[in-house]
Symmetry: C2
Subunit: 491 residues, 2 copies
């Protein structure tokens, strides 16, 4: 398998970023002679986040990066030896040392796809031992990425297409890499960029930013600019002394507004002058509060305005209201930490081993899994609108457009019939036996795909509060398999 070029990829998620029980289970499989048995896992979520009816799939690029670099180093194996029972056979550690993902195949929803409960975001197949070890890192990489992308998509739906949305929550993120993930996937979900420089450098996210309060606070007004002279923007004509200009204008503006010339703070003014001298083509003032209408100065209404400070869905809805003069909205904590639901709760479940379907039997119907190696399709109406998603056994022929299908919607007791005008396969083969099958789309392409996907969802499903639930249905054969395995299992 080709080595990963990005050194950061390996550091962010290493093979030992996993739960110890994955390693103990690996030993259990190995001792039972089952390490190489063919197995398939599915990664999915059970409920859409934030009370909505959709999620965006994301994180695949990090998973692929992780799989391609997956290799236990000597120090990793030695550490595992130190925490596993002392009588563990050296041959087991030899097995671990030789482990890579060259036997692993991954099918997945393209990043930016709409994802619904129970539909696999990832299907991972390969030798039982290694695909078991992948559980925790893949969950960690997909869950939060998809949560963030979905959160960003909701905020974009609220803001509408025109407002510029900037993610600026790095300082509030749950750990440094949480910040990098958040910046990357909020962009995928529909933001315009981030303040996070590393996300620009490593992931190509557009970065933006101007100044913060400490810059303003750092000036007292006693500072003397080393060079207060500013050339005209056009590049011709004499340079002007900006600091002196500001003093002249200050008097005129204060007189016009009926303020005393001492009222504006000299430190604030010195900071703005210093900033304007440093960024003559990208000046930005910074105010704690603003009111462009307070002073009845009409041209102020044409100044682009950026706002930030604890903006959540409700506050954003107010800012996005028609006629709002705000142009750019910076959002931190509420996009990055997803306070309304800080985890997506993805699971990674065994669906087949040794070619036989497997199903988790439990008294809790929500925790029951769907057995067997599966395919997934999206059925569409004649107008291109989404009807429902279908899960069926991999060996079944794909649904045909124009043909009537009998299906079992999840959670319903009755079957239904559907005649789709179009059928789209949902899962693509990205990695086959450790080899990348096609280049992943760029982050910007996935971002565009996310917006396209969302535009095809009906308003009833796209609605953020109390939406209609989107249906996921089983083929008759898959439903029959579920019934058969359920009958075999405990009560």
């Amino acid at each position: 398998m080709a080595a990963e070029q990005d050194p950061e990829g390996r550091a962010a998620a290493r093979p030992l970023l996993t739960d110890l029980y994955q390693a103990t289970m690996a030993l259990g499989y190995w001792r039972a002679g089952r390490a190489q048995e063919a197995a398939e896992f599915e990664l999915f979520f059970r409920r859409c986040p934030f009370g909505g009816a959709f999620a965006l799939a994301a994180g695949l690029r990090d998973c692929v990066r992780f799989l391609r670099a997956f290799r236990l180093r000597d120090a990793d194996v030695q550490f595992l030896a130190s925490v596993l029972p002392p009588d563990t056979e050296p041959a087991f550690f030899e097995h671990l040392r030789a482990l890579d993902c060259s036997g692993v195949t991954v099918r997945a929803l393209p990043e930016g796809s709409l994802a619904f409960p129970g539909v696999p975001l990832l299907q991972v197949s390969g030798p039982l031992l290694v695909v078991q070890l992948l559980e925790t890192p893949l969950l960690c990489l997909v869950s939060y990425a998809s949560l963030i992308a979905t959160n960003a998509a909701r905020l974009r739906l609220i803001a509408g297409p025109e407002k510029r949305l900037l993610e600026m929550g790095l300082r509030r993120a749950q750990g440094p890499d949480g910040g990098l993930t958040a910046s990357t996937y909020s962009y995928l979900g529909g933001f315009d960029g981030s303040s996070n420089v590393l996300a620009g450098q490593l992931r190509g996210v557009p970065v933006a930013g101007t100044l913060a309060h400490s810059f303003v606070t750092s000036f007292s007004g006693a500072e003397v600019p080393p060079d207060p002279m500013l050339a005209p923007a056009a590049g011709q004509g004499p340079r002007v002394d900006l600091a002196a200009c500001v003093e002249v204008w200050l008097e005129r503006v204060c007189a016009h507004l009926g303020l005393g010339a001492q009222e504006p703070h000299p430190g604030e003014r010195a900071a703005f002058v210093a900033y304007a001298l440093a960024f003559p083509r990208a000046f930005q003032g910074l105010l704690d509060t603003y009111s462009v209408r307070r002073f009845q100065v009409p041209w102020l209404a044409s100044v682009p305005i950026a706002v930030s400070n604890n903006i959540d869905e409700e506050e954003l809805a107010r800012l996005a209201q028609k006629g709002s003069e705000v142009d750019l909205i910076g959002i931190g904590t509420s996009v990055v930490t997803c306070p309304r639901q800080p985890s997506l709760g993805c699971v990674y479940k065994l669906v087949a081993v040794g070619g036989q379907p497997r199903m988790k039997l439990t008294e809790d119907p929500e925790k029951q899994t769907l057995p067997g190696s599966k395919a997934a399709f999206r059925l569409l109406g004649a107008d291109g609108s989404l009807l429902l998603d279908v899960l069926q056994l991999a060996e079944e022929p794909p649904p045909q457009a124009g043909q009537e299908l009998r299906l079992w919607p999840r959670g319903a007791r009755e079957s239904c019939t559907v005649r789709p005008a179009h059928v789209e396969p949902l899962l693509r083969l990205w990695v086959q036996q450790g080899q990348l099958c096609e280049p992943l789309p760029s982050l910007a392409e996935s971002r565009a795909f996310a917006q396209l996907s969302l535009s095809r969802l009906s308003p009833a499903h796209r609605r953020l509060e109390q939406p209609e639930q989107y249906q996921v249905a089983l083929s008759e054969k898959l439903q029959a398999l579920v019934n058969r395995l359920r009958a075999l299992g405990p009560q």
Copy 2:
């Protein structure tokens, strides 16, 4: 400055893991000729998290690791050049290339200390440009670490000292490094260990774990163990065929319990046999639900029981109730993502520059900062109980035990007097001009210190719901400085 040995340190938080406006402000300071001006920032929070009255300080070890490795590489500077204005002087980038933390001094609360609103967790002083650039990464490293440690401490208070608490939320963490941070600092806050292997390898957190459902699901009952023979634990006597033994016992147990021999699932049994063969000295069964009392088998009550599954503060309180037979409690999402409040909201504020105190003047009294280079002390009663924390100017003499002090509690309009029996300085000098002054305590030492610190807090402040707020007060001189600067500023 000595190079950082841990390669992971550099990868997790690099210099460009910062907001772009830190870089634009750096350029602003540089053009204003102020890059080298002496500045001091304080990192603190304004409100205790989770509705409690305390927080635990954490994250210092990551900050020190970050500072020691801080150095912009060529690629970093080139990336900054690509996003800053094209006419930026090459000399600015030369300045960045030469930048390190050799001029930076850090005072901080030791990790595991009780922290209260407005008391600095970190004081960072050095050249204005570089200490400004440190803002975002330091906030990112301290905020989440302290949030997690505090969350873990609350869960420990609920569980009591006897239950074993295991963090197992890696799959739910906000990004891979979020998981590593959570595992590290939940241990510091009072957990016994984590399932996260990487936290064991890199940070020395005790790791634990047994098996998950996929192991059970992977067995059908048709598997034949390669070697079903088990030697006696004492090491003497003949080996027994465990698989055959289990079948014999199954019949006897079923007869005793009045169950049909077909009722127990053969796959589950095969999985447990395989696990027992792999871990004869550390067998653990795995059940979806359990009831040791259902079958009236007295010895079952002596089996150690571990539970997990969506355990939050309320559920933990039920499990911790007297007489609960649970021994080990695994907690995932609710310790790692802190759903009740997923960010601590620390801020990093300029308090002095060029030897002059600075204060952010704002209409929002909560956002007003405390000016000047400060010292912080904890005043204690004769019985060692905590009375209050005092902030004063660095140049003031420390409060003396037994002497009456006049203080201004924050948020109060009146001063008060206190006569402490003991006085403890809170902030320690860890890094002076880039040099580590003393080794940081180990993670286990910080963990013990956290428990000691919590034990000295009065029950009224330690209470998790509606606690009494712990007082932080200003010295008379600091209060006078605040009043003076407030009078100078805008209305």
